[in-house]
Structures are given as structure tokens and as C-alpha cells.
Amino acid sequence: MILFVVILALLAAGVVAWASERLSKDAPRLVSIVAFGAGLVWSAALWLDGADAGGLYAAMDWPWIGRFGIHLTLEMDGLSLLMVALTMFLGIVAVVSSWDEIEAGHGFFQFNILWVMAGVVGVFTAMDLLLFFFFWEVMLIPMYLLIAIWGHEEKAYASMKFFLFTQISGLLMLFAILALVYVHHGATGEITFSYKALLEAEIEPRIAIWLMLGFFVAFATKLPSVPVHTWLPDAHTQAPTAGSVILAGILLKTGAYGIIRFAVPLFPEASADFAIWAMLLGTVSILYGGAMAFSQSDFKRLVAYSSIAHMGFILLGVYAFNELGMQGAIVTMVAHGFSTAALFMMAGAIQQRLHTREMSQMGGLWKHAPRMGTMTLFFVIASVGIPGLGNFVGEFLALLGAFQQNWVMAVVATAGIVVAAVYGLYLMQRSFQGTPNPDVASMRDFGLREMSVMAAMMAGLVWVGVYPQPVLELSNATIQTLGILP
């Protein structure tokens, strides 16, 4: 019940934000902040409150379209709670990061942000496959609008590319969902989209592999994994800062979440057979994403490609089929949400100040903005994977898990941390270090508003880095109940 209310509240907040634009241009932002802030407090309260006996923090189940067995089933277990809390937090970050970037349409902008997030919360809690697909689409359209309306110079191309990739892969997932329901109906005579019921479905291995691929392709595109990653650099680069933050921080995680929640548990045998290929894709993503990141001269594009590399660790970890790898993947999701969101926020801040993302136009910015330099340094270091910060925990666990499963793949993937160092430090060098660019006369440094968000993300990364236990415990409950570990 409460979950449905929260989603509706986010949707309603979107409408209120849009309408409140008449009052002042600050009003929509405040509505968003309050909505996400309340959401964050709510998820923290749920966390502190603890789960019920079934490991759930909240649940509801209403019939929706009865004759097809479609229910409004929303459930929140540990993993969902973790992801929802991250969503709420990054919602605040997104709003703050685009605070004075948007020049027109404040109300509609916040409306879109709130609706994306409502869709995301739905995705993270839906336990009915059609409902899941519904929310999957709900997040897509506002995101498309965010890029298409408030994007940068090539927004039309980027937003269309984003839309097509997501939509086509989503279509595959819809086919797979319908086919799964059909097969289940053939076996039991019952039409249902319920996740729990379909978990029990007996599927012929020959069919299961195709259905699994339908899900996998959709999630791998969202993740994204090589070779369906090419929408991401364009979308990230062209999106407004808030869009990049949401895209990197949250939307990519829905792909990872989908793999963990749906692709693997629904088809455990098929996934086990496929694991080696998925790990291969992960490994290739790590290395290829890293190498591509190094090639870029655009600050945002570089960070975008680094996301691809980080997402490779998630594939590697999940398909290692052990607790270490799975936990590594989940911690990576959280840590990457912080570190990359911060870097995108930084990219947006630089672009707003210098009107360029090209690193050849930067250099030596530390002189003008030591705070921004320090922050960039911190988050670059985090994304390079220095122990003590969140990304390390995730990547180390993922690699450790993968090594138990397939040592060759893990060894090759470990080389990715060298590549990460190469591009991460090069980013730092070309933007903030080196000889100050004479074309840059001055640059406004971060103020209190930006610093407080940055500080929160730093604290988050350090927390996950040195004491990830709460996160691990939260996700552990889910991992155990998914029943995919040997």
C-alpha cells in the first residue's frame, strides 16, 4: 500500500512541480527536493525499522486486470530498499546539479525528473512482470524528454538513439514476458504475470535459453554492455546534468537490477549455461570501455565510457554465481551511483562555467577552483578503485567471485583496473592539472550548495568503502531468497 502511495506521491509531486512554476522558478525545484528528501527519510525509516518475517519491508497486492492474472504487486525486499534509497538520494543530487543550468521550463523539467524517478521506484519494487514492464516504459519517456528538450547541441540524435535502443530491447523483453506467461499457461492452465508464480515455471531448456536472452538483451542494453553500449556515450554527453546523473546513477542500475531479479532467477539453468558468455561480455566491457574512455577528449564522454567499464564488473560478478560476485555487483551498483553521479555533476558544472566539455579547452583549472579540483580528484580516485572507497569493495568482491568461477576471465578483467588508472588520471591531468589554460580567465568555485551534495556523496563512498556491512546485509537477504546460488 505504502509503495503505491509513494509512487503516486512522486507522480503527483511532478504535477505539483509543473503547476508551481507559476509561483516562482524556485518552486518546482523545492517541490522536487522536498519530495526526494521525504522519500529518502521514508526509506531510511524503513531500513531502521527492519524487515518482517518474510524479509520484506513493504508489500501490496491488488488485482489489476483480473482476466489476464495481472496484479498490482509491489514488494520491497533488501535489494529493492537499497536501490530505492539510492534513487531518492540521487534524485536530490540531480535536482541540485541542475540548479541553475536550466533556463526554460523549470516546472516541466522537475516534472520529468520526478516521473522518471517514480518509474524507477516502480521498477525496483514491481513483482508482477507486466507491471514491471509498465514501469520500465514509464521511466523511458520522461528521460527521453529530458534529453530531447534540455540537452546540448546534438540532443535530437542522442535522445532518439537512447529511445530506440531502449525501446527495441524493451520490446524483446515484452516478447519474452508474454512467451513466458504463455509457456506457463500451457503447463499449468493458469494465466498469471506474477513473478513468484513464474519463478516456479518449468520451461523446456531449448525455449528457456531464448526467453532468458530476451530479458538479458533488454537489461544488457540498459546496463549497458558491449556491444549494445553505444547509445550511452551519446545520451550522457548530450543530456542535461540532472539527466546524466539520473541516467548513470539510477537508470543503468535498473539493468543490473533486472538481471539480478529477473533474468537469472527466472531461468537459472539457462543462465548458468550462458554465464560464460555473460562474463565474457563483462570482461570485454571492462577493457573496451576503459580503452574507449581513454580515447575521449570530451569530459562527459570519458566518464560515460568509464561507466561502461564499471558495469562490466556487474556482469562479471552476477554471472560468477556465487555470493561474493553477487555482493560485489550490488556494492558496485551503489558505489558507481555515487562516484559517477558526482563526476557527471562535475562535468555539468564545468560546462556551465566554461561552456565546453572539451578537455583541450581546460587544463590547470585547479588554480581557479581548488574545491572542484579536490572533488574531481576524490571521485576519480574512487572510480579508479582505491581501497577505502566504495568502488573498490564492489570491484574486488566481483573479481574475487569471478575468479572462483573462471580464473582466466577474472585475470583478464583485473587488467581493467590498470586501464582505469590510465584514463582516470588522464582525465584529472587534462582538466584540473597541468599548465593553466590562458583562455580561462577565471572560474567560479563550488559553493555551499554543491559542496554539501558532494560531501554527502563522499561520505557515502567512504562509508561503503570502509564499512559496507549494512549494505551487504541488506542485499544478502535478497540474494539468499532468490535461490540462484549453489
Partner: protein
């Protein structure tokens, strides 16, 4: 005091944190007090705890702070583990570290390049000390890895401290990336160790090591060696260290001489139990040490930058330590690590004083005649050089190096070769050290110095000079239980005589050549001599090879593939679709009658179909 042991790493961390959150807004004096004071306090706590620990007679003491992460059976905890080995290391890090910090408060004062970076400098330095302490105190390989990567990070930050110069940034990145290659190998070693023994806890792993398959033990040993090689600048990952001299001199003293670069030695000594089971891996350690030792000492002879000379000398001295570990002189290796920390820190700090007095002139051929004008640096330098050369009986370096060489002599296979290599390198060490001293401090004055040193700068020099001399006199027996006693061969043994005599010969030869009393110009300037000189000067062309084998292909791929070849797949799909669109659009003329005519044609077709049915 032992209960408060956690303060030892916590104090530098607190110092870092204080400097970090104040964003360099504190007055410089307070920054100096925090920066050096936190290390000083940590040293005091370490001293007190160390004394209590030694008196308690326990073999080890551990303090668990919290469980880092618990995933299944993988439950590394943040635990500080104190045993004689980590105690020695802690002493060196906090003690020498404090002296260097003290020196740095003077050296970095109103720095010419980064006058506003005072606070940043000490923040990085404090963070480094924290990471280094975690490295040596971690009872778990993952905590060790935390420190291991942490010191690498601080090394990067401090080499690139003068970040406005792009070359320094390059040197910093090179250091980080090259060591990270080693770190990667080490990480793989950890994965393998965990797979085999299901733990990363050092003591548990060493206890269970006997279960290891010998092949696995060798693999783990070699992988850990890979990590050690990277961090300790040994062949083949040594190329970063000379460039790392781009950092401020105290950084070179602390990180690239006294502590971080010896982490590899510590790691191997710490994992002795694995290497005991893997003689092949241990032998590889010795080989790596020997090769580095020789390459670095020859290279040092041809350098002109005083800091690069010292950097190559550091590489070769660490080569001694590796060789020591490889041939089984475990305690001697650590002993040399300690004495080396004293005298090399001394050398770097003294050279730092010289450099500061000469307005950041580092070329020894632009120095000269300084011995009278800069007495404190000169004498410090002289004492340090004496220890480096291992002047018999009066310097600490002699005792440790002697112990290594004599153990090598007794090593069952190839021991004589190791001994011969070590002695040859000792001769070369004497040669290049003499060259450095003679060229820089004697002869005519080429640059006029102005001595700006204060007590906080020469104070540490005096203390370190005393340690460089006296450090060898203390009977180094704390590690006997853990790593075995240092072997002592009577100094009347022929090998011992050669070991003692060769450095003296080197000093003599160096004096004759570099003070111009012995003419060797013809030899050096001959085509062959010049080629050899240039080959040595380039560090045996390792950089050249790596540049062509790794760097340039990578850059080439990066440049060619900037637009992402995979995207081509989708761009072609889009282009084909667009082509069809254009063809289809041709039929849309916008003319009503054209559409009507088409409908008529369609009608004909429909009617024909209907008729034919």
C-alpha cells in the same frame, strides 16, 4: 599503551582529515604543527606501545577494530597486527617519517612553485603515513592491499604535487600506472590465495600454507612478487622511480627512499611462509634483486641529476634487499631496509637542503665546492654516502650489506654468483657515490648557495646522521624468532675481505677519476664508450622499449578508435534505413492526381485478383 595502539594509524589519518576539511585555510604554522605533530605523536605512541610489546614477551599482538566486510566465508576485518617485523616497520615509518615531516615544514615553507600548497602537501604526507602504517600493520592481505594502494595513490599525488608542470603529471601517472601493473598481479595473487585457502588472513594463510599444492605456492609467490616488484621499483617495473623524483625532495626521501618502495620487501618477508614452500619463487626474488641491483648501479653512474642518482641508488639498494630475501637472509634484508631508510632519507634530505640553497638546481655539474659553504648538508651527505657505500665498521650500511653478501656466498645454488654480483654492484655504488660527492661538493664553485636552512631542517639531518652511523651498532635481533637470525661469518673469511675491500677500491678509483687525477676522457668519449654511456643513462633502454611495445600501440588504438568502431554497426543500420526512407519518400510527390493514378493501378490489381478467383 598497547590498548591505544590504534592511535598510531589514526593520528596521521586525523591529521589528514583536519587538513582536508579546512581546505588549506589554516595558517601555515598550524598546518606545520598538525602535519608534523600528528606523525610525531604517532611515533611516540608507537614507541610506547613497542616497548610495552617487547617487554610483554608475546610473539604478536593484534587489535581488531571492526569487520570490514563479511560475505559468506570471506570476512576480512580491520585488524592491526603487531609483531617484531611490523614493529620495525612501524618504527621506521613513524620515526623516519616524523623527521622527514619536520624537515619538510622548513623545506616547503613559502615554496616557490606552490606557495598555497603547504596544507595540501601535509595532507597528502599524513595520508601517506596512514596508508603505509595500514600496509605494515594489516593482519589481513586485504588491509595490506588497502595500504598498498593507498601509498601508491599518495605517491601519485605527491609526485604530481607541482601539478602545473605537465611533465610532473606525466611522471606521477607513470608511477601510478606502472605500480598498478604490479598491484594487478598482486590482486590476482590474492584471488588465487583465497581460492586455495579460503582466507586472506595472513597468519591463518601462513599456518595453512602447508596444504598448498607446490605449484600453487609458486604461482602465488610469483604473483605477490609481481606486486612487490612494481611497488619497489625492481626490474622489470622499475622505470617509474627515476621520474618520480619530480616530487618535492621530502617526498622522495619519505616515499621513494625510506618507506613505500620498501613495501615490496616487507610483503615478501611477511609472506615468508609461502616462499619457504616455493623455492622457485624465492629464487626469482633473488634474481630480480640481482638484476635490478646491477642495472641500477650502472645507470646511477651516468646520471647528472642528484636526485636521479639517489633514485637509482635506491633501486639498487632495494635490489640488495630482494636478493637478501631471495637467498634466505631474511633478517638481514629487513635490517638493510631499516639502515637504508636512515641513510637514504639522510641523503635525500641533505640533497634537498643543497637544492634549496642553490635555488632548485639539481644538476651536480652545476654545483661544486659546496663543502665549505654548506657544512651541515655536506657532512650529512658525507655520512649518508659513507653508509651507502658501506664504509667498513663505522657505518650502519656496512653491517647490513655485509650480512647480505655473506649469506649470499653461503647460498646453496648460485650463491657465488649472487655474491659476485652484489660485490660488483657495491664497487659501482662506491664509484657513483664518490662521483656525486666529488663533483657536487668539491672543485670550483659553479653556483653560489645561500643557506636558508633552519633548525627544523638541520635537526632531522643530525638525528638521521647519527642513526646512519649508530644504526648498525645496535644488535639487530628482534626478528630472530620470526625470520631467523642474521648469519655472521668471521671477517677474516676471504669473501668478507673482498666485500670490505672492493668499496674502498671504488672510492679510491672514483676519487682519482672524478677529481681529474686520472684521465679517462679518451675511453668515455670513444664511440663505444659514448654508446655505453647513453645506454646506461637511459636506464638500459627500458623506457624506450615500453614506449614502443605498450604506450604507442595503446595511443594509436585510442586515436584511431575514438569514434567507437562498435557504433559503426548501428550507424550503418541507421544509414540503410535512411536510404530506404529516401526511396520511399520519392513516391510522396504531394500531387493528388499522382496518388489517384496509383489508386487506379491498385484498383486494377485488385479487380484482376478478384476476377481470377
Amino acid at each position: 599503551m598497547l590498548d591505544w595502539f590504534w592511535l598510531v594509524p589514526a593520528l596521521p589519518l586525523a591529521g589528514f582529515f583536519a587538513l582536508f576539511v579546512t581546505e588549506g585555510k589554516l595558517p601555515d604554522r598550524i598546518v606545520a604543527a598538525i602535519g608534523a605533530g600528528s606523525i610525531g605523536l604517532a611515533a611516540l605512541v608507537a614507541l610506547g606501545a613497542g616497548m610495552e610489546f617487547t617487554q610483554s614477551g608475546e610473539a604478536s599482538y593484534s587489535q581488531t577494530l571492526w569487520t570490514w566486510m563479511a560475505v559468506g566465508n570471506f570476512t576480512p576485518s580491520i585488524t592491526l597486527y603487531l609483531d617484531p617485523l611490523s614493529l620495525v616497520m612501524t618504527g621506521v615509518i613513524t620515526g623516519v617519517g616524523f623527521l622527514i615531516h619536520l624537515f619538510a615544514t622548513g623545506y616547503m615553507w613559502k615554496d616557490h612553485q606552490e606557495p598555497e600548497g603547504y596544507s595540501r602537501f601535509f595532507a597528502y604526507m599524513n595520508l601517506f603515513v596512514f596508508a603505509m602504517l595500514m600496509l605494515v600493520l594489516g593482519d589481513n592481505l586485504l588491509v595490506l592491499f588497502l595500504g598498498w594502494e593507498g601509498v601508491g595513490l599518495c605517491s601519485y599525488l605527491l609526485i604530481g604535487f607541482y601539478h602545473r608542470d605537465a611533465e610532473n603529471g606525466y611522471a606521477a601517472r607513470k608511477a601510478f600506472v606502472v605500480t598498478r601493473v604490479g598491484d594487478t598481479l598482486m590482486a590476482i595473487g590474492l584471488f588465487l590465495l583465497f581460492r586455495e585457502l579460503a582466507t586472506l588472513d595472513i597468519q591463518t594463510a601462513l599456518g595453512d600454507a602447508a596444504q598448498l599444492d607446490p605449484g600453487m605456492a609458486t604461482a602465488i609467490g610469483l604473483l605477490l612478487l609481481g606486486g612487490a616488484v612494481g611497488k619497489s621499483a625492481q626490474v622489470p617495473l622499475q622505470t617509474w622511480l627515476p621520474d618520480a623524483m619530480a616530487g618535492p625532495t621530502p617526498v622522495s626521501a619519505l616515499i621513494h627512499a625510506a618507506t613505500m618502495v620498501t613495501a615490496g620487501v616487507y610483503l615478501i618477508a611477511r609472506m615468508k611462509g609461502i616462499y619457504d614452500l616455493a623455492p622457485v619463487a624465492q629464487f626469482a626474488v633473488a634474481i630480480v634483486g640481482l638484476v635490478t641491483l646491477l642495472i641500477a648501479s650502472f645507470t646511477a653512474l651516468t646520471q647528472t641529476d642528484i636526485k636521479r642518482i639517489l633514485a637509482y641508488s635506491t633501486m639498487s639498494q632495494i635490489g640488495y634487499m630482494f636478493m637478501a630475501l631471495g637467498v634466505g637472509a631474511w633478517s638481514a634484508g629487513i635490517f638493510h631496509l631499516m639502515t637504508h631508510a636512515f641513510f637514504k632519507a639522510l641523503l635525500f634530505l641533505a640533497s634537498g637542503s643543497v637544492i634549496l640553497a642553490l635555488h632548485h638546481e639539481q644538476d651536480i655539474f652545476k654545483m661544486g665546492g659546496l663543502w665549505r659553504k654548506l657544512p651541515v648538508p655536506f657532512w650529512s651527505m658525507a655520512i649518508g654516502s659513507g653508509a651507502l657505500v658501506a664504509l667498513p665498521f663505522i657505518t650502519s650500511g656496512f653491517f647490513s650489506k655485509d650480512a647480505i653478501l655473506l649469506t649470499a656466498w653461503d647460498h646453496e645454488n648460485a650463491g657465488r654468483w649472487f655474491w659476485a654480483g652484489g660485490v660488483l654492484a657495491a664497487f659501482m655504488t662506491a664509484l657513483y657515490t664518490t662521483r656525486m660527492m666529488v663533483v657536487a661538493f668539491f672543485g670550483e664553485t659553479r653556483t653560489e648557495p645561500h643557506d636558508a636552512s633552519r633548525i627544523n631542517m638541520w635537526g632531522p639531518l643530525v638525528v638521521l646522521a647519527a642513526l646512519s652511523i649508530g644504526g648498525g651498532w645496535m644488535t639487530f635481533s628482534v626478528l630472530d624468532d620470526l625470520l631467523g637470525a642474521i648469519s655472521h661469518i668471521p671477517h677474516t673469511h676471504p669473501a668478507a675481505l673482498v666485500t670490505v675491500a672492493l668499496p674502498l677500491a671504488g672510492i679510491l678509483l672514483g676519487w682519482l677519476v672524478f677529481s681529474g687525477r686520472l684521465r679517462v676522457g679518451a675511453l668515455v668519449e670513444s664511440p663505444f664508450g659514448d654508446a655505453v654511456r647513453r645506454f646506461w643513462q637511459s636506464g638500459w633502454a627500458f623506457d624506450w622499449v615500453y614506449d614502443r611495445v605498450f604506450v604507442r600501440p595503446f595511443l594509436w588504438v585510442a586515436r584511431v578508435n575514438k569514434r567507437d568502431v562498435v557504433d559503426l554497426l548501428f550507424r550503418i543500420t541507421a544509414a540503410v534505413t535512411r536510404g530506404f526512407h529516401h526511396i520511399g519518400a520519392l513516391t510522396q510527390t504531394g500531387r493528388l492526381r499522382w496518388y489517384a493514378a496509383n489508386m487506379a493501378i491498385g484498383l486494377i490489381v485488385v479487380v484482376l485478383i478478384v476476377a481470377s478467383v
